[in-house]
C-alpha cells in the first residue's frame, strides 16, 4: 500500500491530486486517518472498502463539498484552497444523483451541464451512450438506467482531466458497463485521472485505495 506509507511520500507533492495526512471523523468515529496519496495523470484509482467505510465522504472531501476533515489536499502541487478554481475547471463529477432534470429532454439537460458543447456534439455523445432517438423525449419518460446514460454522455462531451465517479456502473446494463470501462481506460491512456468507487468487478487494473480495512479487521478478530 504505497499510499498509506507516510515515510516514502515526498513532502511537496508533484502529482495531479495529492492528499497528506487526511483524517475524517464522523459521529465520534474515525473513518480514516493518516491517509496519503499521490494520483498522477493516466491513473485509474479505485477507492474501495466496505459500506460505511467513508468512500463517499472521501469523495466529498476531494470535491470540497463541505465535509470537514483534517490534513492537506493538493492540486497540481498547489494547496487546494488556492487552486480551487483551476481544480474545478478540470473536474467532472458524477454522483449518486446525477443532476438530470426530468422535465427537460436529454439534449436540453446536456446543454446546461456542458455549456460549451454544440448541438452536433451533444447528438454524437447521446448516440455513443445508446440514446439515439431519445434526444427529444422528456427525461421523465426515460428509465433510471437511461437517465444515468444521459449523465454519462458528459464523459464524451467535456474535455476535463479529472473524473470523479461515485458508483458509475449503477443501473447500467452489461453492454453499457463494457463500453464505460473502455471509455475510462481510454481517458486514462490519453492522460486523464479517473477516481471511482464501485463494488463491481472491473475488467482492468486499477490502483486501490482501501478504506476501513482496519476497522473490519478489528471486528473480525
Amino acid at each position: 500500500m504505497p499510499q498509506l506509507d507516510e515515510q516514502n511520500t515526498p513532502k511537496v507533492p508533484t502529482a495531479l491530486l495529492s492528499g497528506r495526512a487526511l483524517m475524517c471523523e464522523r459521529d465520534d468515529r474515525v473513518l480514516f486517518s493518516k491517509l496519503n496519496f499521490d494520483w498522477h495523470e493516466g491513473q485509474i484509482v479505485r477507492i474501495s472498502g466496505p459500506n460505511g467505510a467513508g468512500k463517499s465522504t472521501l469523495i466529498r472531501i476531494l470535491l470540497g463539498l463541505g465535509a470537514s476533515y483534517d490534513g492537506q489536499l493538493y492540486f497540481d502541487g498547489k494547496p487546494m484552497h488556492s487552486a480551487r478554481y483551476d481544480f474545478r475547471s478540470e473536474l467532472l463529477y458524477l454522483g449518486h444523483q446525477v443532476g438530470i432534470k426530468t422535465s427537460l429532454t436529454p439534449e436540453e439537460n446536456l446543454k446546461w451541464l456542458c455549456p460549451g458543447a454544440s448541438s452536433a456534439d451533444i447528438h454524437t455523445a447521446l448516440r455513443k451512450v445508446g440514446l439515439y432517438g431519445f434526444e427529444d423525449v422528456l427525461a421523465q419518460g426515460l428509465s433510471a438506467g437511461q437517465q444515468r446514460r444521459v449523465a454519462l454522455a458528459r464523459l464524451y462531451l467535456e474535455p476535463k482531466a479529472i473524473w470523479i465517479l461515485d458508483e458509475p456502473f449503477t443501473a447500467i446494463d452489461k453492454e453499457g458497463v463494457v463500453q464505460l470501462e473502455q471509455h475510462i481506460i481510454q481517458h486514462a491512456q490519453s492522460g486523464g485521472l479517473v477516481v471511482l468507487t464501485t463494488h463491481h468487478q472491473l475488467a482492468f487494473d486499477v490502483q486501490e485505495l482501501a478504506l476501513g480495512v482496519q476497522a473490519t479487521q478489528e471486528v473480525l478478530s
Binding site: L65, Y93, G95, G99
Partner: protein
C-alpha cells in the same frame, strides 16, 4: 466568458423548466387572488371600508404568496443532484445564487407586482394608492426574493423544514411590510410617499449586497452532509 456562458445556460434552463411546469408558477398567484377575493366576502363589501384595509391586505397577500413560492427555489435542484453540479462549477456560488434569486423574482415577484393593481380594483383601493402600490411592490418584492433565498438555502436539506423557513425570514420581512403598506396608505391619504419608497430602495440596496453572500454560505452548509 465561459463563466457568463454557463450562468446563462442555467438561466435559460430554469426558464424552460418553469415554462414546462406552468401550473406550479400559478400557485402563488392563485393564492394572492384568493386572499384578495375572500376579504370582501368575509368582512364587508362596503367600498369605503375595503379602501381603508386594501393596502394592508394586498401587501400581506403578496408577502405570503412569496413565502409559498420560496420552497421551489432550490428544492428540486437539491433532490436531483443538480445543485451539487452547480456548486462544483468553477465560478463562485455567489453568482449562481444571484441568478437563482433573479429567476425567483421574475417568476414570483414580478407577476405579483403586475397583478396587484387588479386586486386594488377588486378591493376598491382609492385612486391615489395605485402608483405607490406598484412602486412599493417593484422595490419590495426583490428584497423578499433576496431574503427568501437565505431561508430557502438554509432549509433545503431538511426533510421537515416546512415551518422553519417562515420563522427564520418573517422578522426580516417586517420592515418591508411596514414601509410598503404605509407608502400605499400615504398615497391614499394624498400625502407624499417618496420617503417610504426611499427606505424600501435603501433596504433593497443593502440586501442586494448582503443577502447573496448569506445565501451562498447557507447553501454550502446545507450541501455538506
Amino acid at each position: 466568458m465561459a463563466q457568463t456562458f454557463s450562468l446563462m445556460a442555467i438561466f435559460k434552463r430554469d426558464l424552460l423548466i418553469a415554462f414546462r411546469n406552468r401550473g406550479e408558477l400559478l400557485n402563488p398567484l392563485m393564492f394572492f387572488l384568493m386572499v384578495a377575493s375572500l376579504f370582501p366576502l368575509a368582512v364587508t363589501p362596503d367600498p369605503k371600508f375595503l379602501g381603508l384595509i386594501a393596502p394592508g391586505i394586498i401587501w400581506v397577500g403578496a408577502l405570503l404568496a412569496t413565502l409559498l413560492s420560496l420552497d421551489l427555489m432550490f428544492k428540486s435542484d437539491f433532490e436531483d443532484g443538480s445543485l451539487e453540479q452547480m456548486l462544483l462549477q468553477p465560478q463562485p456560488t455567489l453568482l449562481f445564487v444571484m441568478v437563482k434569486t433573479l429567476l425567483h423574482w421574475l417568476m414570483a415577484g414580478l407577476p405579483l407586482t403586475l397583478m396587484a393593481p387588479v386586486l386594488g380594483v377588486m378591493l376598491a383601493l382609492p385612486e391615489g394608492g395605485y402608483w405607490p402600490l406598484v412602486f412599493s411592490l417593484l422595490l419590495g418584492t426583490p428584497t423578499l426574493s433576496l431574503l427568501g433565498a437565505i431561508g430557502a438555502a438554509l432549509t433545503v436539506g431538511l426533510k421537515k423544514g416546512g415551518m422553519l423557513m417562515p420563522l427564520l425570514i418573517l422578522p426580516l420581512y417586517i420592515p418591508v411590510l411596514i414601509f410598503a403598506a404605509s407608502s400605499v396608505q400615504a398615497g391614499v391619504d394624498g400625502n407624499s410617499y417618496t420617503g417610504h419608497l426611499a427606505f424600501l430602495g435603501a433596504y433593497l440596496a443593502l440586501m442586494l449586497v448582503l443577502a447573496p453572500v448569506a445565501s451562498a454560505a447557507s447553501l454550502k452548509i446545507s450541501i455538506a452532509r
